[in-house]
Every structure is written in structure tokens, then in C-alpha cells.
């Protein structure tokens, strides 16, 4: 009997604090699998965000730093400019990247910083109790928009990936999801494309991953995955948004 699937080396043994059915566990593992496959564990420096994934540094088995909220792209810029041969990525939620960190992500992308960004979009602020996120869809109820997102009060769901796609320094942008096995595999392929683009010094790349938050969506893990498939992808369509050769 041969082991054909197990925990990758780039993940530690620590059991995560994430809720049952949270997408972070899957996405952390996919990043770790790709780093293992590219044999880059000893050359990787990760930048963790503020949010539920603030503790990501406990789960990755390589050098990681924790940045201030929204600032991972600036921190990653500092690291990559000093150590251009290392693999540097940021891992950010929708508050970190699309609210407080919008200036940092736009300008890191605009400077074509040779980094990879993994943007976990679950349309809500989990860590702090389920508040409205820039990516919350219209009508979705949250702690700070209890009657549901109303464009007259809260604006529209923000399409950061589409916005970034007009920047010449962005070489690869894809929106994927993890709501079933086929899409998990597609997400892994997108992560790999992004890290390879960095290794080949092509420029800035980002993967936006639609992820569930069962607790603050008020759904079971299975229902949450179904909601992504049936509702969220209508507002945030899956697919390659930009790919330069």
C-alpha cells in the first residue's frame, strides 16, 4: 500500500482553529501542496494578514511574517526587493485586501512587484463577528447591514480583480473556488500558475478564491459550498480574468 494523498510537508501538524467547513484549511493546504511540488519550501516567505487567517503562520512550515491589516502587499514589496530570489506571497481576506488595503494592493500590482497574492473572498468579516465586507453581495445580511446589503447605503460588491486587470504590470489574474473537488483542483492549478509566474519573474499575479463562511452565512458547510456555486458565482464569475504571455 502506497500513500497517495496526505498532509503536505509545507503544512505543520497543528490542528487549525478554523470553523468546521471553513475554506481556509483547504486553501492553506493547496498552497502548501504546490510549494512542495515546486520544491520551494526552503525559499518561501509568506505574509499573513489580519483576519481569521492571522494564525496562518502556525500552519505553514516555512518562514512567515504577520503584517498589519491591509499592508501585506507593502510588506511583501519590502521583502521581495531585498530578497528577489525568494518566493514571496501574501494571503489576504476581503477586509485586508479590498477594504483597508486597497491602496497597497493596487500599487503593488501597478509597480508589477514580482509577488503572488492569494485573495480569499468569503464576502464577510469572520474574525470580528460577521460584518459587511466590500465583497458582500446585495441583499446578503451581515452584522452591520442587518437588513441586507443595500446599494444606496453600502455601495455595490467590489470587483477588485476586475479593477486590477487593467494594470499592465499584472500578468495573471484568475478567480476560482473550492466548492467541489473539480474546483479545488482548478484552484490548485491557478495557485501553481501564479507561483511559477513569480519564479519566471513575469510580474504580479493574483488568485481570488471564493470561499465559504458557514458560521456567518448561517448555513451548514454543505449549504455554504452550494451557495457559492449557485449565488456568489453570479456576482463573481469564475475564470481567468487576465493572462499575459
Amino acid at each position: 500500500m502506497k500513500k497517495i494523498f496526505g498532509k503536505p510537508d509545507s503544512l505543520t501538524d497543528k490542528r487549525t482553529h478554523y470553523c468546521p467547513g471553513c475554506g481556509h484549511g483547504i486553501i492553506h493546504r493547496l498552497i502548501a501542496e504546490v510549494i512542495d511540488e515546486l520544491s520551494m519550501r526552503e525559499k518561501t516567505i509568506g505574509v499573513a494578514p489580519v483576519g481569521c487567517a492571522v494564525l496562518a503562520y502556525d500552519y505553514w512550515n516555512f518562514d512567515v511574517t504577520e503584517a498589519a491589516h491591509g499592508r501585506p502587499p507593502a510588506v511583501a514589496t519590502g521583502i521581495k526587493r531585498v530578497l528577489p530570489d525568494k518566493l514571496v506571497f501574501t494571503y489576504q481576506g476581503d477586509g485586508d485586501l479590498a477594504a483597508i488595503g486597497t491602496a497597497e494592493i493596487i500599487h503593488a500590482a501597478n509597480r508589477a512587484e514580482n509577488i503572488s497574492v492569494f485573495f480569499v473572498n468569503n464576502g464577510v468579516y469572520g474574525m470580528t463577528g460577521g460584518q459587511l465586507a466590500p465583497t458582500t453581495v446585495l441583499g446578503q445580511r451581515t452584522a452591520t447591514a442587518p437588513l441586507g446589503r443595500d446599494y444606496k447605503l453600502d455601495g455595490y460588491p467590489l470587483k477588485i480583480s476586475e479593477m486590477l486587470s487593467v494594470l499592465p504590470g499584472v500578468v495573471f489574474l484568475e478567480r476560482t473556488s473550492i466548492f467541489n473537488v473539480a474546483n479545488i483542483i482548478k484552484t490548485k492549478q491557478a495557485i501553481k500558475k501564479s507561483l511559477i509566474a513569480q519564479i519566471e519573474r513575469k510580474g504580479f499575479s493574483m488568485v481570488e478564491i471564493l470561499s465559504p463562511c458557514p458560521v456567518y452565512w448561517g448555513l451548514s458547510p454543505k449549504q455554504a459550498m452550494d451557495r457559492i456555486k449557485e449565488e456568489v458565482t453570479k456576482e463573481y464569475p469564475l475564470g481567468i480574468i487576465k493572462e499575459q504571455n
Binding site: 494523498f5 503544512l11 475554506g23 493546504r29 473537488v181
Partner: protein
């Protein structure tokens, strides 16, 4: 043994149960050390080592083997 489940890592989210093509995963009646009902495989002989459950699992609770 084609599937090994670490009951104490499992959080009972049930996502693996949905994706198993052979429908041989079920929530246990017992709770694990964390007070959660973990998943178990009710018919190992039917397992085809597709690893769908392990791919879906957010907690690396499942290891898959093949001949």
C-alpha cells in the same frame, strides 16, 4: 486499508460525506477529544482510493492509500 481518518483532527463538517462517490462515509455517533462528531468509513472494501474526501477535507484529517 485504503482510507485512514484522524478522528481528533476531524471537525465533523461533513463535506467529505457529500463528495464520496461510493457513499461510504458517515458521521460517527461518538464524539472525539474536541467534542465533535467525527467521520468514519462504514465500508472500507468499497473504497476506490479516489481521494475526493481527502481533497475536500479542510483539516488534513484523511490519508489515502492505494495498492
Amino acid at each position: 486499508m485504503r482510507i485512514k481518518i484522524d478522528a481528533d483532527r476531524c471537525k465533523g463538517c461533513g463535506l467529505c460525506i457529500e463528495v464520496c462517490p461510493k457513499k461510504i462515509l458517515k458521521l460517527s455517533e461518538k464524539v472525539n477529544k474536541k467534542g465533535m462528531k467525527s467521520v468514519l468509513c462504514i465500508n472500507e472494501a468499497e473504497c476506490i482510493s479516489c481521494a475526493s474526501c481527502a481533497i475536500m477535507c479542510p483539516d488534513c484529517a484523511i490519508t489515502i492509500f492505494k495498492e
